[in-house]
């Protein structure tokens, strides 16, 4: 699946409880350094958003702030009036290095369903479905800690899938995957997207951003330099930094 699916006409997209997301003059400081400076943007429902930028730009930080795992130093993040921590129950995040629990693959998918009080009668079906779409059904009873890195990443995605989130946040999900596994992952994320889940994904991989994004947030050194439709961004980047990044130069 090379091109993103068309953004309209899919089934299952219902009114979102937590979108739009609005981020207003967000700052994050740690150890006296400003890691994010006055970042403002908004995310509407039904979009594939890619936060693009070099390593150390603050992409992962931005994602974790939006997910409520960190507190901003200043500024405001609002998911349709809810704080990130409040909205989290309707979101799912896939980490760059996902943690899997020391139990079976199926139990790992089951765990967040129990935590979030998904009705008991639904849980088994959701687990089965999630393992099928992620191609893990044959490993359902295997200990999750024994899976390969790529399989663990797929398990993390299965966990997110089973939660049926309104928004899925992905932090460099394919940074440690081979091309084949990356393709599988992108296909899966696109499927979630066409089923009505909004996607916010960080990547430093330009080719991946081209394949997937409908909208690009370009981040460099803690500053949001561009916020544009993917088509416009890749054809006419406005900032010299983005032009350099697209040209393959190394940004310091």
């Amino acid at each position: 699946m090379d091109a993103p699916s068309p953004p309209t006409g899919h089934a299952g997209a219902s009114a979102s409880h937590t979108l739009p997301l609005s981020v207003d003059r967000l700052c994050y400081r740690a150890d006296g350094r400003e890691l994010l400076s006055a970042v403002s943007f908004a995310v509407q429902a039904d979009t594939f958003n890619v936060i693009l930028g070099p390593n150390g730009a603050g992409k992962s930080l931005l994602l974790r702030l939006c997910h409520g795992l960190l507190r901003p130093s200043s500024g405001r993040i609002s998911w349709r009036g809810l704080s990130p921590a409040q909205a989290r129950a309707r979101h799912a995040m896939v980490f760059q290095h996902p943690v899997v629990l020391r139990r079976s693959v199926a139990a790992n998918v089951y765990y967040p369903l129990a935590v979030r009080h998904v009705p008991r009668s639904e849980r088994r079906d959701r687990v089965r479905e999630a393992l099928e779409v992620t191609n893990l059904a044959h490993l359902a009873h295997a200990p999750a800690t024994r899976l390969s890195g790529g399989e663990q990443q797929r398990l993390a995605l299965a966990r997110a899938w089973a939660l049926r989130p309104e928004v899925v946040l992905l932090d460099e999900p394919s940074a440690n995957l081979d091309p084949r596994a990356t393709l599988d992952l992108e296909t899966l994320v696109n499927t979630m997207r066409t089923r009505g889940t909004a996607v916010i994904m960080t990547t430093h991989d330009l080719a991946q951003a081209r394949r997937l994004s409908e909208r690009v947030l370009f981040l460099n050194r803690g500053r949001l330099l561009e916020d544009a439709a993917a088509r416009d961004f890749f054809i006419r980047p406005a900032s010299p930094e983005a032009q350099a990044f697209l040209a393959g130069e190394l940004l310091a």
Partner: protein, 234 residues
């Protein structure tokens, strides 16, 4: 060497011709220590996990106290429990002094800090690694505690065994609160102390050998089970 050789023979003889008295002492030893261990775990595992997961003022102090209490002198613990349980003490009315229950309580007090401190260490390490993932999945503090205890179960076996080892090996504590009463509160360690003071060294050493074999046996068994389980479940 001669004395030791004779003791080994006596030990083998004791084990082969297990008399009723000795069996009673062995059974009581394990009963007391295993019950103390059970209560100790019920208290110490959640305690250690709570200190690792929860953030509260004075937390550093609690950690320091737990670590320090790992080295509590058994005799002093025995003395304090003795004072609490004695006729004039606050719990004197329960009439627990010089009963196996008193020994359970004293051993429990002794091993809770050990198990809790080791649990804290294991769970704190896991928490650092798991925290964001579990919060992302929606887990609250309480569930996080028990999730981490379960994920650390193979390491925690060591903590539990350390507690058991301390409990079964304890002399001073149980002699003070139990009184070493024959057929009632005499356990292997107190029997050994008594026999060596009486001068029946072969018997004392023989009891010592039985104690070591049984204690090591239990520890070994637990580790074999743990290793098998951890091989199976990652």
């Amino acid at each position: 060497m001669d004395g030791l050789g004779a003791s080994v023979l006596t030990a083998i003889h004791l084990i082969l011709h297990l008399n009723h008295d000795l069996l009673g002492i062995i059974v009581l030893s394990f009963q007391v220590s295993l019950v103390a261990l059970a209560f100790g775990c019920i208290i110490a595992l959640p305690l250690g996990a709570a200190v690792a997961v929860l953030r509260f003022p004075g937390r550093g102090l609690v950690v320091a106290a737990l670590n320090a209490a790992m080295g509590l002198p058994g005799v002093v613990v025995g003395l304090v429990v003795y004072l609490l349980l004695s006729r004039s003490g606050p719990f004197g009315e329960l009439g627990l002094l010089f009963t196996p229950s008193a020994m359970v309580i004293a051993q429990c007090v002794l091993i809770v800090p050990i198990i809790a401190a080791l649990t804290y260490q294991t769970v704190a390490d896991l928490h650092e690694k798991y925290d964001e993932q579990l919060r992302s999945l929606g887990s609250g503090r309480l569930r996080t505690m028990f999730t981490l205890l379960w994920d650390g179960r193979f390491s925690l076996v060591t903590a539990v065994l350390a507690g058991f080892g301390r409990a079964i090996a304890e002399v001073g504590t149980v002699i003070i609160v139990g009184g070493n009463i024959n057929h009632y509160t005499r356990v292997m360690t107190t029997a050994i102390a008594l026999e060596s003071m009486r001068g029946d060294l072969p018997l004392a050493v023989a009891l010592g050998i039985v104690l070591i074999v049984l204690a090591l046996g239990i520890t070994l068994l637990a580790q074999v089970v743990r290793d098998a389980a951890s091989r199976r479940y990652g």
